[in-house]
């Protein structure tokens, strides 16, 4: 096999190691399994076409995350005439419906004990920009600088947004606990 062929195979193998992480990020962006799968496929195809431009010491995972985010933004521009992050403006929106549903559902009351499920649900209910940054930092473990590269923003923005996102997540979990306790009291 030629050098180019070897590099291609090595790249494919290395890129596939990040499949779960990329799929998770795609779910974070799209919140839809079919869309997420399409986005993952699109990301890998773009990466295969462009990996010749990837410098040897670059962070492959971060590079693929950046490709995915750009691909997703492009899709949004085409389908919605520009990305909309209205969720961020509505960050203090009313989650009572979701909380009420969780608080009244016996199955969810049982799951309440499973902390991870709670956290996953809470992350899923964050506004888009907050969800994205929590996933990049706390789930995928990227550094502030790497996140800045993926999101195309200054590291200062990463720090401040991450701080707000965690605060929101903390409040969301606290609200959830309080709603669940109220529901439990009513049942008793």
């Amino acid at each position: 096999m030629s050098d180019a062929g070897n590099r291609h195979t090595t790249f494919s193998q290395a890129a596939l190691l990040h499949l779960d992480a990329l799929y998770g990020f795609a779910m974070t962006l799209t919140r839809d399994q079919t869309e997420a799968e399409d986005l993952v496929q699109e990301t890998y195809l773009r990466a295969v076409r462009a990996f010749g431009r990837l410098l040897p010491d670059s962070n492959l995972k971060g590079w693929m995350f950046a490709i995915m985010r750009n691909a997703w933004l492009n899709q949004l521009r085409h389908t919605r005439n520009g990305p909309r992050f209205v969720e961020l403006d509505a960050e203090d929106g009313d989650h009572s419906e979701w909380l009420g549903h969780l608080a009244n559902d016996p199955h969810v009351l049982y799951l309440r004990k499973l902390e991870h499920e709670e956290i996953r649900a809470a992350i899923d209910n964050l506004p888009h920009l907050y969800r994205e940054i929590i996933v990049l930092r706390d789930i995928e473990g990227f550094s502030y600088q790497q996140i800045a590269g993926i999101l195309g923003c200054p590291a200062g923005t990463v720090m401040s947004r991450l701080g707000r996102a965690r605060e929101k997540l903390r409040r969301l979990l606290a609200d959830w606990h309080s709603a669940a306790s109220t529901a439990r009291t009513k049942v008793v």
Binding site: S2, D3, A4, G5, R7, H8, S12, A15, L16, L19, D20, A21, L22, Y23, G24, M27, T28, Q33, A36, E37, V40, Q41, Y44, L45, V48, R49, A50, F51, G52, E115, H116, I119, R120, I123, I134, V135, R137, D138, I139, E140, S143, Y144, Q145, C153, P154, A155, G156, T157, M159, S160, G163, R164, R166, L169, R170
Partner: protein, 301 residues
Amino acid sequence: MNHCEHTRAQMVFYLDDELQSDERHALEAHLRNCAACRERYDQERQFLESIRGARPLHSAPPELRARLENALSDAPSPHTAPPELRQRVERSLWRFNLAANRPDRLRRLTARAAMVVMALLLGLWAWSEYHKLRPYPQPSDFALMAVDTHQRHLRGQLPLEIASAAPEQISKWFIGKVGFRVELPNYQELSGQEKLYDLEGGRLVGYRNDYAAYVAYRMQQRPISLLVTSEQTARPSGGEEIVSKGITFHYDSISGFKVITWADRGLTYALVSDLEERGQQSCIVCHQGTKDQNFIEGLKP
């Protein structure tokens, strides 16, 4: 800001592994001796561990993995030229070799000259198109960070770590916290200028895995932000360039704010405001009462 407040502000950076070793050691030493901060630290650590313990949020379905493995093994390597292209290039090279072997030196020279002219014309066109779109080069990363910091401060997300109107107190506060000396001369006093703006305080802001110094001013209820870092960390660039007293000032407008960046004696500065004046006129707003006429004359367009 006392040690406890500073430690609490730094805790999250520590837990995110974003502190340098000396900062880490200082924080660890404080935690060993302060029960209240240790308790706060444990809460923060548990919260972050609980989030991180939730990973992975999703796992790729096996069908998707299989589909991708097939797609990647079938995809042509981007470094392998298609056979048709290879043949076309080979034919072109063969023709070129034939032509090159002819003793037609003048023809070859003419062809090369034509290529040079074409390249120059293309370059000229690209340059003019670029400048039609944007009259000045792109702002520096440091200028963008300064605007972002200014906006965060306006939104109340960046509380000051030291509140003081005394430049020497703020300069002193930054000693040992940043890797450079932040000198804030009392320009108004030194130049005999009437008091047009007030110093409010300062704090640290993260920039490129290090800290930059942030200093807040206010001029008739209008906030003004000054960011300082070392010249090794950031160099001013972009925007409209004006040279005054041997210093090149870069004026730019980012997200509706006026930004001036410059480097002087090993430090790089960025000043952000919402002053409406254009370019160097915005400097004159703060320095208008100064007796240093050379300074003002140097800034006039």
